[in-house]
């Protein structure tokens, strides 16, 4: 029995343990290591290189996934495809299931390359996940069936990033290609990793959980590159290191002192990061059931800070992709300022 209203972050990430914080510039990733007993090997991603499932488009605003495996294909939330073909790039507005050895058309997908005609040919294309800024907007429009539902938002996003004033997501990705590639390069997966908490500028901006390590390895480059990388590019312009990136003290006179200094800096960093995350763990989410397949169900979850989607098998959470709401981020400076006191 699914207890829909009992979800919070601590429940969504149940069974996972944090690894060592990885920190490069304003972006930080806290790897989440999964419990082997909780891995769900019955789910594959569209990016799985051994089990080649395919994607094609036949109509604008529709994405067709063909599951060639004997497992359930989980299309990650906001997955998109930018191809070099003369075809309109597409993205999903939500996550979805495709049954074993079945083909499924998602009619609520979105075009993300305004003035390009043509359909994507059937193949296993490289996945991307929509940029962080667009995800909340896409999720809100998930039930609309309109191929151009995200065009205004993409145009606005491109303009804000100083790229172009048209709804071509590829413009942003081409313009910042090098920086985005570096994000993939800089953050490494650890053994048995199935999730991560992503911080940008010292704030948690996303929680991610995958059903198994293989799924995680498939989806991680798309998450770190296009999704969170796009946000990091924006924040990096401020050239400020996050508050939980502790610089090494100076004035050491011996190697022993330096060794202690290193350990202390690391402990301080771990404590500062834990403090940031701890405050978010028990905020309850409202849950809305969306779609189900076999034993799995998709829920859209939301609280005042985060929204996103989770996949559950009964009580167990197999997949989650949660991101901060734009309003919450806008009000961050107000919340972080000190309360008045005399």
């Amino acid at each position: 029995m699914v207890r829909e209203n009992e979800l919070d972050i601590s429940e969504i990430l149940r069974g996972m343990t944090p690894g060592r914080l990885q920190s490069v510039g304003c972006m930080q990733v806290l790897p989440l290591i999964g419990d082997q007993n909780l891995f769900d090997e019955e789910i594959v991603s569209p990016g799985d290189k051994e089990q080649k499932s395919t994607l094609m488009t036949r109509n604008y605003g529709e994405m067709t996934f063909k599951n060639t495996t004997d497992k359930v294909l989980l299309v990650p939330c906001h997955v998109g495809y930018i191809t070099k073909q003369r075809a309109q790039d597409h993205a999903m507005s939500r996550c979805g299931f495709v049954d074993k050895q079945k083909t499924k058309v998602f009619g609520d997908a979105m075009c993300i390359e305004q003035s390009q005609g043509g359909y994507i040919a059937e193949d296993q294309h490289r996945m991307m996940i929509l940029p962080y800024t667009l995800r909340e907007k896409a999720l809100k429009k998930r039930s609309e069936r309109s191929f151009n539902k995200l065009w205004d938002d993409i145009t606005e996003f491109n303009r804000s990033m100083g790229v172009s004033a048209r709804a071509h997501l590829v413009d942003f990705l081409t313009h910042y290609e090098k920086q985005l590639d570096e994000f993939v390069a800089e953050f490494e997966c650890v053994p048995q990793q199935t999730g991560a908490i992503i911080l940008v500028g010292g704030h948690v901006v996303g929680f991610e959980r995958a059903p198994n390590p293989r799924f995680w390895l498939d989806v991680w480059p798309a998450l770190i590159r296009e999704c969170y990388g796009s946000l990091a590019i924006k924040v990096a312009k401020e050239k400020k290191l996050p508050k939980n990136r502790i610089a090494l003290d100076s004035g050491f006179t011996t190697l022993e002192e330096l060794e202690v200094g290193l350990r202390e800096a690391r402990e301080k960093e771990e404590k500062a990061t834990a403090d940031i995350v701890r405050g978010l763990l028990d905020k309850p989410f409202s849950c809305k059931a969306e779609e189900g397949l076999l034993k799995y169900s998709i829920f859209t979850v939301e609280n005042d800070q985060f929204s996103g989607q989770v996949v559950r098998e009964g009580e167990k959470v197999c997949y989650a992709s949660l991101f901060t709401k734009s309003k919450w981020a806008e009000n961050a400076p107000w919340r972080e300022s000190k309360k008045f006191a005399v």
């Binding site: 690894g19 060592r20 490069v24 790897p31 053994p191 990136r245 090494l248 330096l258 290193l262 800096a265």
Partner: protein, 545 residues
């Protein structure tokens, strides 16, 4: 100062370098050395193939435009990857020299360098380069001459090459001769290699002499003509044993003795798929497989139940490590012992070539996930690093010293070999190694740090402030396309590229170039001169005002 005999017309003149050029040279050469040793032309863990190619092109062009002659000399430095030589040859041939160019090296030396480079490339790489010329339509007379000489003049050109590289050779020759001339030659040779032989006219004989025989060493005329005829498609009236065997094997596979493995696989797939098993192919081929081929196909041959043994002494250390990672668990104790002994000996051999050795050496080995390499060159960064540690261990042994090794990351072990995984935290490992008071510390890392990024540089700053001046050298086994060179962990330490331990001497040149350009340039010239001088070729004379 004159380092070699001064002559009327020195072949290498350091005075020809303008001050504008000399300012930019150290950086350009250092980046070239970085790329030349690490850019394999394949994707890395961090960069795509396209990014790697683009970075390499830019790095080559930057040095080439500064001084063409110096660029050509740099191509002769030891330890360069074949990919670099191939790219360099393309650059020289695609951009014929302009008479007015003032260069460090006399233009006459360039042809010697081109010939030397093409001779050192293995045939498959050479033919790949010719294919690139064909694709990019590089067909000036120097290129055509190089193709024809490299093929027709080579003492290795014979029935084995004709079979193994038949289609590649055909395309290369056609590019050098033109389609029309190739067609003429095909029909002339058809008169000799057909059941109804007819004699050649005087004009036809002259064409053969002009297009083929003038490149051929005396006594090899008939062999070369028959091989060319086979390459161009004739399969009748052949007398060379391998060519005959190849043609007969199409009907009777047992006749295929001596034919290379790849061709045997083709013959099986095309003519005998139902009758011949893969195991039979391996059994037939194992006699003529190269040692590298044997090590590369070991997994497949074992699967088919065919025992193919190879001599680990004949395979370079990096490749041996890659082999070990793939096969260690299935090896017998004896085979493993042999490989370990070969690796040890190779380490000693490389250590003897080191410019400087130390008694007590510290090593920090980055075992983060990225050291696994990309799918196309799996394990390469790790294998290079382990081979380098063998060399450093040997150098320390030679001086009765000690090597202190610290490994970062959460590496587990498989058959006694470390497995890279996890994040990159090098700073703590560096401090631990330094506590053992080494004379020098080598940090073997691709230069990507994330726990957190910049911590290593902070530690270096702290060390220098506290007066610890222990030399720290980063050895980088992979090119970082985005930084167009190797990626530095700190700008206060030297970062050296490395693709195999024996090439460390070339990497060391970087240090000399940054501190004293003239000495560094002389080092390059002298190294190149050693490569160029032979019994028939005069040494390079250097003018160094």
């Amino acid at each position: 100062m004159t380092t070699a005999m001064e002559t009327q017309r020195p072949l290498v003149n350091l005075d020809n370098l303008g001050s504008g050029v000399t300012k930019k040279l150290p950086e350009a050469i250092c980046k070239f050395i970085d790329a030349a040793q690490t850019a394999t032309g394949r994707s890395s863990f961090y960069n795509t193939k396209e990014e790697q190619d683009k970075a390499m092109q830019d790095i080559h062009r930057d040095l080439f435009v500064l001084d063409r002659g110096l660029y050509s000399l740099c191509l002769l430095l030891p330890g360069l990857l074949d990919q670099t030589k191939r790219h360099g040859l393309g650059m020289l041939l695609d951009n014929p020299p302009v008479g007015t160019e003032s260069s460090l090296v006399d233009p006459t030396v360039e042809s010697r360098i081109i010939a030397k480079l093409s001779n050192t490339l293995p045939p498959q790489r050479l033919l790949k380069m010719f294919e690139q010329f064909r694709r990019e339509r590089v067909n000036n007379s120097r290129t055509k001459r190089l193709i024809l000489r490299s093929i027709l003049c080579s003492e290795n050109f014979g029935d084995f090459w004709a079979i193994k590289y038949r289609y590649k050779l055909r395309r290369a020759l056609e590019h050098a001769w033109s389609k029309r001339v190739t067609s003429i030659l095909r029909s002339i040779l058809g008169k000799r290699f057909t059941k109804n032989k007819t004699s050649l006219t005087g004009k036809e004989g002259a064409i053969l002499r002009d297009k083929i025989l003038r490149f051929v060493h005396p006594g090899r005329d008939l062999l070369v003509l028959e091989c060319v005829a086979f390459i161009l498609g004739h399969e009748e009236e052949l007398s060379l044993p391998l060519l005959k065997a190849y043609v007969e094997a199409k009907k009777d596979f047992t006749k295929a003795k001596g034919i290379p493995l790849s061709n045997l696989m083709y013959l099986r797939g095309r003519f005998h798929l139902d009758k011949v098993t893969k195991a039979q192919v391996y059994e037939l081929a194992k006699g003529q497989m190269t040692e590298t081929e044997k090590s590369l196909t070991h997994k497949s041959t074992k699967k088919e139940g065919v025992e193919v043994s190879f001599d680990p002494e004949k395979i370079e250390a990096t490749k041996l490590y890659i082999y070990l990672y793939e096969m260690a668990e299935t090896l017998t104790k004896d085979a493993r012992k042999k490989i370990d002994a070969a690796l040890k000996r190779k380490g000693e051999e490389a250590a003897r070539k080191l410019l400087a050795t130390h008694k007590n050496v510290g090593v920090v080995l980055d075992l983060s996930q990225s050291m696994m390499g990309s799918e196309t060159q799996k394990l390469r960064p790790l294998a290079t690093s382990l081979a380098c540690i063998d060399m450093l261990e040997a150098s320390v042994r030679m001086r009765d010293g000690t090597l202190s090794l610290e490994v970062t990351g959460v590496g587990s072990r498989k058959a006694d070999l470390p497995i890279p995984c996890g994040d990159t935290s090098l700073a703590e490992a560096l401090v631990t190694v330094l506590k053992k008071k080494p004379e020098i510390v080598y940090v073997l890392s691709d230069g990507y740090e994330n726990a957190p990024a910049g911590r290593f540089a902070e530690v270096i700053n702290a060390l220098r402030k506290m007066g610890n001046e222990t030399p720290i050298v980063q050895i980088v086994p992979v090119l970082a396309a985005e930084s167009k060179g190797v990626r530095h962990l700190s700008d206060k330490i030297l970062a050296l590229p490395l693709n195999k331990p024996e090439a460390l001497a070339t990497s060391m040149l970087k240090n000399v170039l940054m501190t004293d350009l003239r000495t560094g340039l002389l080092g390059i010239v002298e190294t190149a001169a050693k490569q160029l001088s032979g019994p028939k070729t005069p040494a390079l004379e250097v003018k160094n005002g």
